[in-house]
């Protein structure tokens, strides 16, 4: 009986934090650092960040159609710019919170050499990339292969993840031998979690600027502006860098 009434109460009062809540849409590649930042943010400010992870293009569609997000951390700079043009954002709130690093990764420790020669040998059946039409990391992978003059040869071996998380999942389950993912997904504190990787040199693709904006729904929410500012704090920047992102 007592458990039942506690459960009822828990359902009625979803969150008893003293600070405010902020609904955040987060690009999938930024999942791990954002969870850490949100935890620190809660400790330092008393505000709770409620995080949703997904593909940037999907968030654009949802936000344009009234999704309740207040802050948007995109995987690119063009989608936030487009939302700004659509008058969906608080003007002047857009800035680059991280610059992404592309990496070719395999769960096997001896699959990938220091220089990405494995792409030339082509001793694999499937190469996972994120959908280049929707995911900036997928686009960067295409640009890289184009620059290496390998695109035509390797295109038939592509398998596309819906977003960068699914791309990693294809590789980590072994269904694709290797794939282009975000460095943040496979490293922690500057060290590879497992497997082998080639960090793609920045000159092989356009830089992956990841921008954040405050959305109209978060205009009057102090928790939204607090988190927006917190992303620029030394603490947050240290976390962002520890996952292999550069800062602008």
């Amino acid at each position: 009986m007592k458990t039942a009434s506690t459960l009822c109460l828990a359902l009625l009062i979803p969150c008893a934090a003293q600070g405010g809540d902020v609904q955040v849409a987060v690009a999938a590649n930024f999942t791990a650092p954002m969870q850490q930042i949100a935890a620190e943010f809660a400790k330092d400010s008393g505000h709770q960040a409620i995080l949703s992870f997904g593909a940037t293009g999907k968030f654009y569609a949802q936000i344009s159609n009234g999704a309740p997000f207040e802050l948007f951390l995109a995987a690119d700079d063009s989608t936030p710019a487009r939302l700004e043009k659509d008058k969906q954002t608080v003007s002047g709130s857009r800035y680059t919170y991280a610059v992404g690093t592309l990496v070719l990764w395999s769960p096997h420790s001896d699959s990938i050499d220091q220089h990405g020669q494995v792409l030339n040998n082509a001793s694999f059946k499937h190469l996972a990339i994120a959908n280049p039409k929707t995911a900036p990391y997928g686009m960067a992978a295409i640009e890289t292969l184009k620059k290496l003059a390998l695109l035509d040869r390797l295109q038939p071996r592509f398998v596309q993840g819906e977003n960068i998380s699914q791309t990693l999942q294809f590789v980590s389950t072994g269904n694709a031998e290797l794939g282009f993912v975000a460095l943040s997904q496979v490293t922690k504190d500057g060290k590879l979690n497992s497997g082998s990787a080639w960090i793609v040199p920045g000159n092989l693709h356009e830089p992956i600027y990841q921008d954040v904006v405050i959305l109209n729904k978060g205009k009057d929410n102090p928790a939204a502006s607090a988190l927006h500012a917190y992303l620029k704090s030394a603490k947050a920047r240290a976390i962002i860098q520890s996952f292999g992102y550069a800062l602008r």
């Binding site: 293009g57 569609a61 499937h126 398998v159 993840g161 819906e162 269904n175």
Partner: protein, 225 residues
């Protein structure tokens, strides 16, 4: 109106749904027959397993299939031993996934049709010395024909409407695993709303026509039985 990629996706979807329905006729019929006639203690358990895809989120099915058919999974080990590699990201991988996914839509209407026939016609056929096989083809099949049509239409349509499982094990390869539902999702994500609208309209009209065929046919079949 539709781009070449859209047409390719539609063609692939029709091919996938057609093959899946064909295979389901072959494996669904004996399962439905057994479920309709058996008094085994296992009947409840098998019926529940067949109905699972109705209740399970496609993400669960997709997740298990991805692991099972992957290089370390039991199915993956088996297919590799046969020398055909692994099944995710292949057309046949999608066919197998779709067979699981649409199984209840084949088995349940068939089971209903077989149960509606009852014992009597079979007993009569047996007294006339019809062999069980002969009895199945000349008594059961004609009587259960409306059930077969319903099961076929539902299985085909349900496979056309498949999305989550394909997304999880397909790898979105044009002409191989990028079916119409995934193509629409792609258009939406890429903010190509015009393309998304056109293909979505095709799917909407198709789905409506299928259901219209199913429901306008229904009264007539009731009379037939």
């Amino acid at each position: 109106m539709l781009t070449d990629n859209d047409l390719q996706a539609i063609g692939l979807t029709v091919r996938l749904a057609g093959l899946t329905t064909l295979i389901l006729f072959l494996i669904g019929t004996p399962i439905a027959w057994w479920l309709a006639r058996s008094r085994s203690a296992w009947k409840g358990a098998i019926g529940a397993i067949v109905a699972l895809p109705l209740v399970l989120p496609p993400s669960v099915l997709g997740f298990y299939l991805l692991l099972a058919m992957g290089p370390q999974g039991p199915v993956g080990q088996f297919t590799q031993a046969l020398g055909i590699g692994t099944l995710p990201f292949t057309f046949w991988g999608l066919v197998i996934a779709s067979v699981f996914y649409s199984l209840p839509f084949m088995v349940q209407p068939l089971q209903g049709a077989f149960e509606a026939i009852g014992d009597r016609p079979l007993e009569v056929a047996a007294t006339l010395r019809a062999s069980p096989v002969d009895c199945f083809f000349s008594v059961v099949l004609p009587l259960a024909k409306p059930g077969f049509i319903t099961a076929g239409i539902l299985s085909f349509a349900h496979t056309v409407g498949e999305f989550g499982v394909v997304l999880m094990i397909g790898g979105n390869i044009p002409g191989l695993t990028r079916v119409a539902s995934v193509q629409i999702y792609d258009h939406v994500e890429a903010m190509e709303y015009g393309d998304a609208h056109r293909l979505a309209a095709v799917m909407l009209v198709f789905s409506f026509l299928v259901l219209l065929a199913l429901y306008t046919r229904r009264p007539a079949t009731d009379q037939a039985i």
